[in-house]
């Protein structure tokens, strides 16, 4: 392989500054939303004592999971020694850090007492997977940061493989930990399943790669640098495999539940009778699964960038829907205090709980996405992250169409 030359982007165009202004506006809106929620209390949101985690959690968990997956390209290069992916490893690591930062900010700003973050960072209950996640999340930023450093500084390049393997193991632990937040909830019918952890791992692969592809396209289109078909085709196939794997995990999860009579209630709720949750579940399967698969694998579209970009957008949308169904739908279905009994009370026992997300929650969630994008936009200007050319001859000389 030829020597790959990296260079920061100029970042002086009107387009660049327009993007920065757009992201900044969303971030300001998110901060304002958070202040509004914290000042008044959470009653101004759609959340309540029944649906305790709302739209901010949907965005936060999605971004955190995607962060792990954004590292795919770097991991494949370092851990599995696939040279074709090496030139894009820097962007992959940077995006992973940026996504995690976006997710964490949303998570923290939705706390009842975000001012007490220092407590969460200093007092740990090690039986809590949440406490472990605090360590996994901050550790991820640190390890991937070092990993990025070994890619960019020749004096420490010899540690690149060690850093890459460490980051790879760490990201698997991170997504396992995030899935286990739900997997460990024994009392709720919609959760309490070991498959949550590996399902979140595979979801991370797809969401992160979809995000990576969109950032890659935007960066190369925006800077008019060359991006060859060879690497794009590889990433296209990879995304297809990951999307199919999500569908497989979702199918196994629900089939297993359907076998056990005790889960028939919650399965009927998600798959058939749950109104908006049922609609979103099947929308996720179609929009986030079947349509992207068709766009990715249709022979006529093999080298069509637009179809891959559209597939990536749909995978992200489907991912958000999937998180919504898991997080909100899982809470909407009532707790089973007395199995076999019809239950009612003044505290919404035995009823399907309702949730209407507020504008503040939506803006907070979108603010997380904006933080991710502004970090990436700033970093590609400040650091030599992007190869000057990803033309086939440079990136993958042995590529055969």
């Amino acid at each position: 392989m030829k020597l790959i030359r990296f260079a920061s982007i100029d970042g002086n165009s009107n387009g660049y500054w327009a993007l920065m202004a757009l992201f900044a506006a969303f971030i300001m809106a998110a901060l304002g939303s958070s202040y509004f929620m914290e000042h008044n209390g959470h009653w101004v949101t759609g959340m309540n004592n029944q649906i305790v985690w709302g739209l901010p959690h949907v965005f936060a968990v999605f971004l955190i999971v995607a962060a792990s997956g954004a590292l795919n390209v770097a991991s494949i290069a370092s851990v599995f020694n696939k040279k074709a992916y090496k030139p894009l490893a820097r962007l992959s690591a940077l995006l992973a850090i940026a996504l995690l930062m976006g997710g964490l900010v949303v998570l923290v700003l939705d706390l009842g007492r975000p001012d007490r973050l220092i407590i969460a960072a200093t007092i740990y209950n090690f039986k809590s997977i949440f406490a472990w996640n605090m360590i996994l999340y901050s550790g991820f930023i640190g390890i991937v940061g070092v990993y990025l450093w070994t890619m960019m500084d020749q004096t420490v390049a010899k540690y690149n493989r060690v850093a890459g393997i460490s980051a790879f193991i760490w990201r698997l632990m991170l997504t396992t930990g995030t899935g286990s937040i739900f997997g460990f909830l024994v009392a709720r019918q919609g959760y309490d399943a070991a498959i949550m952890a590996p399902m979140f791992v595979i979801m991370s692969f797809a969401f992160g790669l979809a995000f990576f592809l969109l950032v890659l396209f935007a960066a190369y289109n925006g800077t008019k640098r060359e991006l060859g078909d060879a690497i794009v085709l590889r990433l296209r196939k990879l995304l297809g495999v990951f999307v199919a794997a999500i569908l497989y995990f979702v199918a196994v999860f629900h089939l297993t539940n359907l076998y056990a009579t005790e889960h028939h209630g919650v399965e009927a709720f998600i798959l058939r009778d749950g109104g908006i949750f049922t609609q979103l579940f099947w929308a996720q399967v179609v929009i986030g699964g079947l349509i992207p698969l068709a766009l990715i694998f249709a022979p006529q579209l093999k080298n069509c960038r637009k179809s891959l970009a559209l597939a990536s957008v749909l995978v992200i949308l489907g991912g958000l829907l999937q998180m919504y169904v898991i997080i909100i739908g899982g809470q909407a279905y009532p707790l089973q205090l007395f199995p076999g009994m019809e239950v009612s009370s003044s505290f919404f026992d035995g009823v399907v709980n309702s949730y209407t997300p507020s504008l503040a929650e939506l803006m907070l969630g979108l603010g997380g996405v904006a933080i991710t994008l502004i970090v990436v936009t700033l970093a590609v200007k400040a650091l030599d992250l992007l190869p000057v050319s990803m033309a086939d001859a440079v990136a993958d000389p042995h590529h055969k169409d």
Partner: protein, 245 residues
């Protein structure tokens, strides 16, 4: 009072040495928790395990005295917003799908021996006292609501807005989670929880006492008549038991 003495001691320590002070400042929650965990005249021990027994056959369908007493005792006034207002205890109506038989019973924090809320709490704000009472340390609760996701009994509430006119003995805080304290402030003084006292005025469906003491009224009743746990399948060994369900 002993509590004041302890506070004074920690104040003196605080003024004592700068290096030592730093450590104490970093962990104020731990200090406060230690102080709170000790009643005025004796330390909390695991020799007792406070519990409740509810005889649902005596619980009247239309009676909500326990709920009213709890709200009054703990200053739970509410904002006419049922979805976000706190409820530490509620009357639940059960109807057998097969037979149509209906009965009502109060449900509150079940004060589990292995409490899922305490397990999942990242900071340890949700904790179980040695005597079995499950509480939230409002000083270190960050309001993440993971305990509410984990509680099988829907026993917890999140404080969704600013509060006024709080009771000194039941401090609460916007942005933190709360639930039945088994009226720990009364129990530490040797009294019964407010709900039990209220119920005993007429229906006498609720009993409070030490589950570890074989001679306590509650233990004798449980031994003689038995008592069921809600969601016994989860193996949490709750401190609240029910008869007649």
């Amino acid at each position: 009072m002993k509590t004041e003495n302890i506070t004074d001691t920690s104040k003196r320590k605080f003024l004592g040495g700068a290096a030592l002070t730093a450590g104490i400042v970093i962990a104020p929650g731990v200090l406060l928790q230690t102080v709170q965990a000790k009643p005025d005249d004796q330390p909390v021990t695991n020799k007792v395990r406070w519990g409740m027994l509810i005889d649902t056959n005596k619980c009247a369908d239309d009676c909500t005295d326990c709920v009213t007493a709890c709200n009054t005792e703990n200053g739970l006034t509410g904002f006419e917003r049922p979805e976000t207002d706190s409820q530490w205890i509620r009357k639940v109506t059960l109807k057998d799908k097969q037979t149509g038989h209906v009965k009502t019973l109060p449900v509150m924090c079940q004060h589990c021996e292995t409490a899922p809320c305490a397990d999942v709490c990242p900071t340890g704000a949700s904790f179980k006292r040695e005597d079995g009472i499950v509480l939230v340390d409002k000083h270190i609760c960050i309001g993440c609501r993971y305990c509410m996701m984990a509680c099988p009994y829907k026993a917890r509430s999140f404080v969704h807005e600013d509060l006024t006119d709080q009771k000194d003995h039941a401090p609460r805080g916007k942005g933190t989670v709360e639930s039945c304290t088994m009226c720990v402030h009364k129990v530490d003084k040797g009294e019964s929880p407010a709900c039990v006292t209220a119920c005993n005025k007429e229906h006498k469906a609720m009993y409070f006492g030490d589950l570890n003491d074989a001679n306590s009224d509650i233990s004798k009743r449980l031994k003689q008549y038995g008592g069921k746990q809600i969601r016994a399948d989860l193996g949490l060994n709750p401190g609240v038991r029910y008869q007649g369900v």
